[in-house]
Amino acid sequence: MFRFQSLDEDCTLEKEEGLVEEEDEIDQFNDDTFGDGAIDDDWQEEHKRLAELEERKNEGLGGLGLGGLGMGGMGGGDASTVQLPPPASRVPHPSSLPPPHHSLSSMPPPGLEDRGGGDLAESLAMLILGADPAIASVGGPTGPGDRSTGLPPPPSMPQQHQLPPHQQLTPSGLPPGPLHPSLLSYQQHQHLLRRGGPPMQQMNSHNIWENNMGFGPVSVTPGLVTQMEDSPLMSIIKEVGLPNRPPPVMSEDGRDLSERAPPPRSSSPVIGSPPVRAVPIGTPPKQPMSHAMNHHQQNSPLCRPPFPAGVGPVLSQIQRAQMLNSQVAGFPRGCQGPPLLPGGGGFRPFFGQPPPHRMGPHHNHVPCPIIRHNTTHLHPQHRRMLTQRMQSRGGERGGRVGDWRSRDPYSNLMTQREKEWVAKIQMMQLQSTDPYLDDYYYQNYFEKMEKRQERDRDGVRKEHTTKLITPQVAKLEHTYRPVQFAGSLGKLTVSSVNNPRKMIDTVVTSRTDDEEKREKQVWNKRRQILYTVEKMYSLLLEVQDFEKRFMQTPEEQREALLEQHKTHTLQLYASLREKEWDDRVSDEQCLLIMSVRKGKRLISRLIPFLPPLQAAAVVMGIARNLPALAKKDKQDQALCWLVEPVAVVISSLSSAALTDLLQELQGSEGQLSKVLQNKFGVTLLYLILSEGERMQSSDLNCQLMDDNRWTELVFSVTRELLNVPPSSLSPPLFTPPNLLSLFSRYVDRQRLELLQEKLQISSLSR
């Protein structure tokens, strides 16, 4: 690529093709740069940009450094692209590269143009020495430390502790030995590397992607670098870079896979939601970190119980693991192989706590149960009993089980921490604010158990059975208060799992107790009235249907039916009448019933069926209470239904009764005026008067005039009629014609005319 550094003009396709023919090392991948993929601007800038991107990407890959990084030429040889981990990528790339026939790489390494100076060779050396774990381990922890550029220790540094044996197998093929980089000059080093080239090639092919250890690729080995100019494959790799390897399945540094927490979820906002966790709740506990791991690794083989040789399947991966663990040669029992591990490269079992086999012999030594704070939810008796049980069981089996467990190489895959974690989760599920509600049977069971035990050991041992108050989780109310900005309309609602979006802003209006009571009373009363009305209606309907039925029933049963009918009617009336007086309708009851529209209808239908005396009483009652009824009727306007039946009744009234009726109608002071204001009232009045008139005119022996009551009443009516303003006089349903003649008897002409007017006005105008 540096070949074309001088080119400032845009490259055309032809040129590129020509180049391709000229040189074998330029390959098709360069289309991106010079071919179709090229953008028509300054390619240097473009590359710089892309290179920076790549660098960032590579850093993200965690040091895998397999982007299309190209490294400038190696000293003396072809410029080769070395796949570098990010630290190496920061190695200054001298611009003053000798232009060897390095192959075109897609982009210069990052920082190529950034750092103008710097020796390429030096940087390369540092790269090689620093990046490759093998060399680094050989050289010591601060291999490239003495180099000028502050090359940060490569990420694989920690591995070096673990890998002293590894050097023998590294693909780099470096001869083991004191290859301290600082001792070598760059050229010497290069020479060494070159020498170490050929035998390495075979290993390279299978080790390109990973080291023996199964670690992810850390770097392309230096040997690979030296081969660059040799094979076309290498040249391609130089130019393009190794393709991105899949993220290593096997964990780096033997870390537990559980450390690889899934990418953080888009968590609901903190308000009202569970705390944001970097590691989601479901992940098991992590294994200790790498530095701790080393200790573990060294300790645990010692801790590990001995096992007979040949136990367990031996896989090739296991063999590799064995090689790695050969450091644990200091095995006390000196048995054949190191602990065999299931799965390739997994170090997990090593990091367990002391294995459970120790439980066996220890069991008997533990007299009292280990009280775990999270088991306090269980009844203390329960816990005690069960630990006893455990101990007794453990004691007899301890020896045997311990032995067997100690021989099982796969035991303790689940670490103590993990067991505790599961237990903790299960305990959390037992927390309850109301144990009697949540676990009734358990509580009862234990109460019984306790009682039984007390009974049994009564007197023998006064063991204190204090009731432990199990810790109860307080019911925490998390009320979400929406964030409000002053002066803004509405509230900002951030919804999460725990507080879903509030759709409707409801306002609760709570009524006071008094109000509620009153309302209730009113409703209750009304309900009662309606109920009474309904019952009466059913009776009424039966009465009404009587005739039909009467016709249908045969002779014998007719009497019975008649009886029934009579009782019904009596019942009907009974519900209306006063308690003691038979001929007076209870005002209260009447009012109540009439206050309901249906009640009015009921009465109107009822009256025809009542015997005359009772009917008269009903009408009396109506008349008496007319003002009140009128007031209640304002909404319904249903009183007029009563006109017809009442008229019928009136027509059958005796004179005395009529007089009484009129009197009732007039009632107390001021009642008449109210009556006049009501349509029904007026109608009723007129009816009465007309009836009276009829009586008078028809029957000469009418007793109407015998006492003065009638006359007086008529007079008062007349007076009232005259006084009442026409506006307040309500128009009657109809005006009986003979009223005038009635009035003519009592009043003089003038007044008569006035009355006439009144009568006429009322009926005509409305």
């Binding site: 269980l378 895959l413 599961v422 299960q426 305990m427």
Partner: protein, 133 residues
Amino acid sequence: MNYMPGTASLIDDIDKKHLVLLRDGRTLIGFLRSIDQFANLVFHQTVERIHVGKKFGDIPRGIFIVRGENVVLLGEIDIDKLCDHILQQVSIEEILEEQRLQQQAKQKTEKAKVTALKDRGLSIPKADNLDEY
């Protein structure tokens, strides 16, 4: 260490040999290596045991991970107590063959039943095992 005394916890069953019956009718025997809060189980050196009549056969399966909801029952096996004398272990091929024959016989009887019912005008709808609701 006492894990959840008095409760049914699988923690104490770890590293012991267990027999588990799954919802699909399989019987697995293996060492219980790991559990979690859903009773998902990790079995090691698992063997699927097929029973036909008095014979049984073991098919080694390696490592099994069973999702908790599929477990019907799980029980510890006493290692010291060997297999019953009643049951006779046979080779895998034989047991599979036996199983196949058993399935065939079953299907035949089922079919006969269905045709018999059909002749009488009755039909019992086939219960879909997957549909539990």
